[in-house]
């Protein structure tokens, strides 16, 4: 039994190492000299540290604009998803209302559809209303991707906060809005922050609809994707690494909430 569990731990660690290898390798490719991308044979250990590759990537025309676009789109998505999602989540958690089931079905239904593909018919409409090739246009589609998640998670967050706390605030003279702001919101804040970060990551990583809906105002993913065929290898490695970096931090920050979030949103 003891031996068995030791083998299990060893295997789990091996698997974890395998999981880190791709990030490590694209990391040493991006943080090495430019020539290293095409060198042969390669060493699995980092040889020389150099900011050449990353510098080349960051100085490349259009990269900073694309990074800026990605950040703005992701921030907008984050704000929209929480502004639309949190009230809906609160309604699901605290009220019994007719049509609740239909509403839940609508949200759950979004999961059976590859949502990003729905950007295709939007192109024509976006052109006619002036949303095509804008940060706002992409953010709206990304909000559609993040919203169902945001609604279900905030609903579970609010359900986890005892109703009695709120009722106590009412009896002490708070209005519903005051009770929400002073009692419920502070308790829900860490979870809400995690949800917002997750919405940000969903948008930051999305490729298809961002590529379809932009032409000159590319987000970073769309920019990298469009230049896949003509860009040199070291440029692609630097771009990939730059995309991965914030995700590493974000996942670390939200790791505590990951499981309760997904567990509940898939019940």
């Amino acid at each position: 039994m003891k031996q068995g569990s030791r083998a299990l731990v060893a295997f789990a660690i091996l698997l974890a190492v395998c999981w880190l290898v791709p990030i490590y390798l694209i990391g040493i490719s991006a943080l090495g000299p430019k020539e290293a991308a095409t060198a042969w044979p390669k060493s699995l250990l980092p040889t020389t540290f150099s900011f050449d590759t990353m510098g080349f990537f960051l100085r490349y025309t259009g990269v900073w604009t694309a990074v800026w676009n990605s950040v703005v789109v992701a921030m907008l998505t984050m704000v929209f998803a929480v502004l639309l999602g949190a009230p809906a989540g609160y309604a699901l958690a605290r009220y019994d209302f007719r049509g609740q089931t239909v509403y839940r079905v609508l949200i759950v239904m979004t999961r059976a559809f590859p949502l990003a593909i729905l950007a295709l018919p939007l192109v024509t409409r976006f052109i006619s209303v002036g949303l095509y090739d804008t940060q706002l246009g992409v953010a709206l589609v990304h909000t559609a991707l993040a919203l169902p998640f945001s609604i279900l998670v905030s609903s579970s967050l609010f359900m986890g906060i005892p109703r009695e706390l709120e009722e106590a605030a009412w009896t002490l003279g708070c209005t519903r809005v005051q009770a929400f702001m002073k009692v419920v919101l502070p308790l829900a804040l860490p979870g809400m922050a995690a949800t917002m970060i997750f919405s940000f990551v969903i948008s930051w990583n999305e490729v298809f609809s961002a590529s379809v809906l932009t032409l000159n105002n590319r987000t970073l993913t769309a920019f990298l994707f469009a230049s896949l065929e003509e860009s040199p290898l070291h440029f692609r490695y630097a771009g990939g690494f730059f995309l991965i970096l914030p995700s590493l931090i974000f996942i670390f920050v939200v790791r505590k909430y990951l499981f309760s979030m997904w567990g509940i949103s898939n019940r």
Binding site: A16, A88, G240
Partner: protein, 283 residues
């Protein structure tokens, strides 16, 4: 409290409007774009154009092969990981963090990371060469070697998207009362028996939702394939992208989108049906 009748509707209204405009309406629009001419007449010409395109059959076949291999492998790997976590005390959080890192990694970035490994002068070939298995740079990522190309994409996909299944399964495992397993242990059930008789049946709802979610997402496979194989491995979403961008034909692109939607919904319904039947025979 009189207005409490209206309050929930006020609270959900913005999200309902948003989902109608950016989910339901584009859904209908996709179908209309695929089935109607700009003048508004019903037509099958876009569907016909899609199905008669040389790449359609290839893209469909490739996508189906990827889904059929990747999704079951991911379910097995994620289940194994979840079971390992259940039996590991110290370092559990660290393992969880590492295994779920790809959850935050873009499919494009994941494809590029694996490109660094699998390209002809990449780390995989360097390793093979240092072991004396190959003599020089060898190309795995071209249509000349379809099996190798598929294997590379499958490995990248398993790395990238197993995390989502894992997270759903871990959340499911946490909801199984510990007493069941403890009771079985007291009665002398071996670990394997406990897994088959207790954990697996109780995990069924989680397995089902993970399977549906993952399959729908797997039909969307796109950026990983392009980062690794370029146009050497056509997939359905990639074709939709080409028709929209390169060939400037939104109607055929919408026909692809409609097709992908129908395949996704069809698969979801099959899963729901098959898994429900099994659950009934179990009880």
């Amino acid at each position: 409290m009189n207005d409490s009748g209206r309050t929930p509707y006020v609270l959900i209204a913005p999200s309902v409007v948003f989902l109608l405009v950016l989910f339901i309406w584009p859904l209908a629009e996709t179908a209309l774009m695929a089935l109607r001419t700009p003048e508004g007449a019903w037509t099958g010409q876009y569907i016909a154009k899609m199905t008669s395109d040389l790449n359609f059959g290839v893209a469909l076949k490739n996508t189906l092969i990827l889904v059929a291999i990747v999704v079951p492998l991911q379910m097995v790997v994620a289940l194994a990981m979840a079971m390992m976590l259940q039996n590991i005390g110290r370092g559990r959080m660290a393992l969880l963090y590492i295994w779920t890192i790809p959850l935050g990694v873009s499919d494009l970035a994941a494809g590029l990371a694996w490109l660094a490994i699998f390209n002809d002068r990449g780390y995989f070939n360097s390793l093979l060469s240092s072991l004396g298995l190959i003599s020089g740079p060898t190309s795995w990522l071209s249509y000349n070697n379809p099996v190798a190309l598929f294997v590379c994409v499958i490995v990248a996909e398993i790395w990238r998207a197993t995390a989502i299944v894992l997270v759903i399964l871990v959340a499911g495992v946490q909801m199984i009362p510990k007493e069941y397993n403890e009771a079985a242990e007291v009665f002398g059930a071996r670990p394997w028996t406990r897994f088959i008789r207790i954990t697996l049946p109780l995990l069924k709802p989680s397995l089902q939702s993970a399977l549906i979610l993952r399959t729908v997402l797997a039909f969307e496979v796109f950026a990983v394939v392009y980062a690794l194989a370029g146009r050497d491995l056509p997939v359905l979403v990639g074709e939709a992208y080409n028709w929209q961008g390169a060939y400037q034909n939104t109607h055929v692109a919408s026909a692809y989108a409609l097709f992908i939607l129908l395949v996704s919904i069809g698969t979801t319904l099959v899963y729901l049906r098959v898994l429900r039947v099994r659950r009934e025979t179990l009880s």
